[in-house]
């Protein structure tokens, strides 16, 4: 039997699975769709490379791990906070570089929707299938742009703990 993956690795994988589950068919309690768009693919990347914005995908989520900090909170028990930056890209079908582009929906509106979709999905599942203690969205960037794409960017912090006996 192989060694267990680290909690950090399991958190990153759970995050990818969670975001891949964003659909336009899921309804809230009032019968209204929870999300605006569904991503075609979710990928974990080491860095954001614009070439990853492949034309065969209309919507693409890229997850990058940020530094992970931790400390020993109690004897033999560590608490760590893992950071992730997540880029949700969606093909715009128009030139987003035009400052006063009034084609609807506006690039700014799509960015806000992409961010809302991610935030809602994460906050409603903040324990990441029980691996994490908490997940917070600490930053959201509405002003990131790339020609031909609408982008929403968030940064999250995932708090988790592990005991020496079980391993990090």
């Amino acid at each position: 039997m192989p060694a267990a993956e680290s909690k950090h690795e399991r958190i990153a994988a759970a995050l990818a699975t969670l975001l891949a589950g964003i659909t336009t068919t899921e309804l809230d309690g009032a019968g209204v769709p929870k999300y605006h768009y569904a991503p075609d693919a979710v990928a974990r990347v080491k860095w954001f490379d614009e070439r990853d914005l492949a034309k065969e995908y209309e919507g693409l989520i890229l997850i990058r791990a940020d530094p992970d900090v931790g400390s020993e909170e109690a004897a033999q028990t560590y608490t760590q906070i893992a950071g992730f930056t997540i880029v949700y890209a969606r093909q715009a079908g128009r030139a987003v570089t035009k400052v006063f582009d009034q084609d609807l929906p506006l690039a700014a509106t799509v960015s806000a929707r992409l961010i809302r979709d991610m935030k809602r999905r994460i906050i409603e599942n903040y324990k990441l299938a029980g691996i994490a203690e908490n997940t917070e969205v600490v930053n959201e960037q509405h002003d990131v742009a790339w020609p031909g794409w609408d982008l929403g960017v968030i940064e999250i912090r995932v708090t988790y703990s592990w005991a020496v006996a079980e391993g990090p």
């Binding site: 954001f48 880029v87 570089t97 960037q141 790339w146």
Partner: protein, 67 residues
């Protein structure tokens, strides 16, 4: 056509060509001016945005302290 007349005609032709050349150069300049600049990478945009957000946080914290 006298030699003088031919020189005058050639001069007019040169002036016309110069005018065309200037027009063409201006057209090229205007096209180049419309080209978008190389976009800043997504990573760089995020880095700058994060720095701005951190600065905003510091400002908010300072306001709270002084309130």
């Amino acid at each position: 056509m006298t030699l003088e007349e031919r020189v005058d005609a050639l001069e007019q032709e040169v002036l016309a060509l110069q005018a065309n050349l200037i027009n063409a150069l201006e057209l090229v300049r205007s096209l180049v001016a419309e080209l978008p600049e190389d976009p800043v990478s997504i990573s760089e945009q995020i880095r700058v945005g994060r720095a701005a957000a951190n600065l905003q946080r510091e400002v908010l914290a300072a306001r709270k302290e002084t309130a």
